[in-house]
């Protein structure tokens, strides 16, 4: 087992499994976020946010999710460091084979930018909801039950701060690009791929990437245009 943990393939398996787990989490995240668009009263979104904050299963999953993020990030840094050391001298003529923006070539850069966004994102919402609190959360949620008015917090940010809209749209695109490579790559690493499934998985990865990019980017754009 110890040789598996230190082997590059072992580390890559950790990247794949955590990556797929994070994609699952993002699917749930996106689904709930889309309630922001489909119900302008905020009722649906507030109910969903309340469920996420109180459901015992979700409470159990929270630290596991955090661990998933931490493993994915730290292992990525370790692998990238190993990979950079493998070529001590760079080519003067560069790499003319793959486009400079190809997600597969830029996974660590895309990931780092997403991490920077994640920190901002946590300060925007998670810290306010869980720790510091915010007067915006205390408005009556209008659901009959006492709960945070999370919709108020989110819509306030997107309606009143266009710079955040821009940041959230860009972050959506970055996540989409990251997943358009990450999804099929995860299956390749754990050996669940062959010549036929290569095309299917790549197609699926692009579709998921596009759905995530459009889905996450649509929300700030909706608030910007509608209100």
């Amino acid at each position: 087992m110890s040789s598996f943990l230190s082997a590059t393939l072992g580390r890559k398996v950790f990247m794949s499994v955590t990556g797929l787990f994070l994609i699952l989490f993002l699917s749930l995240h996106l689904t709930i976020n889309l309630f922001l668009i489909f119900d302008d009263s905020g009722n649906l979104f507030n109910q969903a946010a309340h469920f996420m904050a109180t459901n015992p299963m979700i409470k159990i999953m929270e630290p596991i999710l955090a661990l998933g993020f931490i493993i994915h990030i730290i292992w990525a840094a370790m692998l990238t460091w190993t990979n950079m050391k493998a070529r001590p001298q760079k080519y003067a003529s560069g790499d003319q084979l793959l486009a400079w923006w190809a997600p597969s070539k830029n996974m660590f850069i895309l990931g780092s930018m997403i991490l920077a966004f994640l920190v901002l994102h946590i300060f925007n919402f998670w810290v306010k909801i869980k720790i510091t609190g915010d007067p915006l959360l205390d408005h009556p949620a209008g659901t009959g039950i006492e709960m945070h008015n999370t919709y108020n917090l989110v819509s306030n940010l997107f309606i009143n701060y266009p710079v955040y809209d821009l940041i959230y749209v860009i972050a959506g695109l970055l996540v989409g690009l990251h997943i358009s490579h990450g999804f099929w790559s995860a299956f390749q690493t754990i050996g669940l791929n062959n010549i036929n499934w290569m095309k299917r998985l790549k197609c699926l990865a692009n579709m998921i990437g596009i759905i995530f990019a459009i889905g996450f980017a649509a929300i700030p754009i909706y608030f910007l245009l509608k209100f």
């Binding site: 692998l79 050391k85 690493t189």
Partner: protein
């Protein structure tokens, strides 16, 4: 049809006296190169010119010059084996270049392939990976009839596709991580599909993988650049099989 003549080209080539020396690029101008020449013939003409001028000729690897031995290398204008697909450098023709063009020629830049001299690198690392597990056990005694071992056509073809690997190193040279995974995948895949390869199936992928890590190659990040650069078009689907073989063996431990 007569080939066109490139009246003048500039070759910017990496010069390094020995593995320890600090190398640098030198640019040489050559006149009247036929587009019908292969790239290595152009290098021969350059070396002839250098010798006549009393200079040290450029050291480069080559052997069969028909694309099957895997000796030639060279990273030309940002492409392993030059800007043509599915060919080795010896099969690359000067018709891929234009008159007056500057052609940058570099050695494979892989930590595990140290430069011996100029653009010649030491690819012993691939031999070491091969020795770690790229073999099969065979019975001694009389030669068995090949037809007594049933193998499906599909498996035979797939094993043969992998066996087309000539071990040139273009995969590791192109990979942004200098990973030898396509080479490793080809060498594991050529046995994994055949009954003869089953004797060592439990250890092959593990030993070869451990050797690759030990020699300082990077890890695969599935960019797919290797299969584009491979002169034999070996598919990265073989890498999925390598990973599968490795994980199967690890789970059995």
């Amino acid at each position: 049809m007569a080939d066109k003549i490139l009246s003048k080209i500039h070759v910017k080539v990496w010069r390094q006296n020995n593995p320890k020396a600090k190398g640098k690029f030198e640019t040489y101008t050559i006149e009247n190169i036929s587009q019908g020449n292969s790239f290595l013939e152009m290098m021969d003409i350059l070396n002839d010119q250098l010798i006549r001028e009393g200079k040290d000729p450029v050291a480069f690897d080559h052997d069969c010059r028909e694309g099957i031995c895997g000796m030639c290398s060279l990273y030309i204008n940002g492409h392993a084996h030059g800007p043509d697909s599915q060919v080795t450098t010896c099969q690359l023709h000067m018709r891929k270049f234009n008159d007056g063009q500057t052609i940058t020629v570099e050695p494979w830049r892989v930590g595990a392939f140290p430069v011996i001299k100029d653009v010649m690198v030491d690819r012993t690392a691939f031999e070491k990976i091969q020795q770690a597990g790229g073999f099969v056990s065979v019975n001694t005694g009389g030669v068995p009839d090949g037809n007594t071992i049933p193998i499906s056509q599909i498996d035979a073809e797939e094993a043969m596709d992998a066996a087309a690997c000539i071990g040139c190193g273009a995969c590791a040279a192109t990979c942004k991580n200098s990973s030898a995974m396509l080479f490793l995948a080809a060498k594991v895949s050529q046995f994994a599909k055949l009954p003869q390869g089953q004797v060592e199936a439990k250890t092959r992928a593990k030993s070869m993988y451990a050797k690759m890590d030990e020699l300082g190659f990077g890890a695969c990040s599935n960019t797919g650049a290797c299969e584009l650069a491979c002169p034999k078009s070996i598919s990265i689907a073989h890498i999925a099989r390598l990973n599968r073989e490795y994980l199967k063996a690890k789970m059995a431990d």
